[in-house]
Symmetry: C2
Subunit: 229 residues, 2 copies
DNA sequence: CTTCGTATTTTGATTCATCAAAATAAATCT
DNA sequence: AGATTTATTTTGATGAATCAAAATACGAAG
């Protein structure tokens, strides 16, 4: 059995790994992501490499192996299914479920997870629009534009929010920019680094480019995605 | 924050402690209950004593302090609420929820627990009939007879099953001896160490005295107790 | 009261995950 | 190239939880 620590390292590596291209994650980035000093990451990664879960090249970085990815995806599946469960069944706010799921994802058995999956109707995305890997470890991450680079004047459906900070999520919710909402980007002021968003209810929201880039959109004709919080 | 290990020691001590009289639990019993060698129990208990969670008398044994009991009861509350949740909401079999809850009880936040409690309607007993402590740490453990010592020929309602072994629980379920069921003890053969039970549906079940002692009953006029599995 | 046996405690090691700080390699900048 | 900065790895230590095995205390039995 992989310890919680091992599961967390693998999950984090998966999230840091730019797409599934063969790029290596530098040690420094992993250490920061895990909140440990660099030396800790090095020794941990060596252990992971001995277990065949990652490939490690000294001073080159680290990359998940096939079995490492597999395990990471199972952890991610647990995490995201739990998030959705907490929102849909227990009625928690979507801004807090990330932290709750971080604790629960290591304690949930396959048996329990399976029941949650059935109860939720085999969902494909969590409350933030992040895709839920299948039990077999497959994920589909569609290529998406964000509010920072999508077409202007065309209605867009919000598909995913790439930030788990409760403060950001609460702000996003207050502005009605939750997954499923239809919005239009009115104008981009590159000088001001700001984007003007027209929300369906007539409101107008201004977003910095950094924030706008965290909100991914899709054409509204596509099937509805995540559960609105 | 108390580690999972600490929580487990406290929970186990609470369960070993004969009622709430001031008796001390001998180290050996604790070690067996925790599945560790005696020396481990000793050093752990010393640490617990330093944190003020138990009172430890070398060669005398160990006893929970007020704050230790409080913490133990919170763990027990999590454990039992989770058990009921798994049965009622996720539809798991009552014979497996004990082990699932052992893992989950350390990962569930007060926030999540509170939602479960509300969703379940502030239940007072888990699927085995074990009482659920309140959030304030109070439990009521009524004084009950068992099938091994209750009156003969009088209908009894099964209130609680004192064994978490899946095998035993599955047997109990097959025989219809689940909490809530009404049964009558027909005869006790002290020589054969056996008890003859008449189940409501006309069936007749024979139980060894040891098994019978694990099934607690109450007078049927009392309010219905646990949720039947 | 001495001896025996069992329960308990001590002692010394081990594993996991971590940090602090020193050592080293690689990259960057004159 | 030579010097300096930055990233990474090593090394040595620490705390939590554990085990194996030796040492010790206690109660019971002769």
């Amino acid at each position: 059995m992989a310890s919680s620590t091992v599961e967390n390292y693998l999950k984090q590596l998966y999230l840091e790994q730019p797409a599934s291209d063969g790029e290596m994650v530098p040690m420094g980035r992993l250490a920061v992501a895990m909140g440990v000093v660099p030396g800790t990451a090095t020794s941990m990664v060596k252990a992971l490499a001995d277990s065949g879960l990652v490939q490690y090249e000294p001073r080159g970085g680290v990359r998940l192996t096939a079995s490492g990815s597999q395990l990471a995806l199972h952890v991610l599946r647990r995490h995201r299914l739990v998030e959705l469960f907490l929102v849909k069944v227990l009625g928690l706010d979507w801004s807090v479920v990330h932290d709750e799921a971080d604790a629960l994802e290591h304690a949930i058995s396959d048996r329990v997870l399976e029941r949650m999956d059935v109860l939720l109707g085999h969902p494909t995305a969590d409350p933030h629009g992040d895709p839920i890997p299948t039990a077999e470890g497959h994920v589909h991450e569609p290529h998406r534009m964000s509010l920072a680079d999508c077409a202007l004047g065309v209605p867009q459906r919000i598909a995913r929010v790439l930030d788990q900070e409760p403060e950001f999520l609460q702000f996003v919710e207050r502005q009605g920019l939750v997954p499923g909402a239809i919005v239009t980007v009115g104008k981009r002021e590159s000088a001001a680094e700001a984007v003007k968003i027209l929300v369906r209810n007539g409101e107008e929201v201004s977003l910095g480019l950094v924030a706008a880039a965290k909100i991914l959109v899709e054409p509204p004709q596509g099937a509805a995605s995540a559960a609105a919080p």
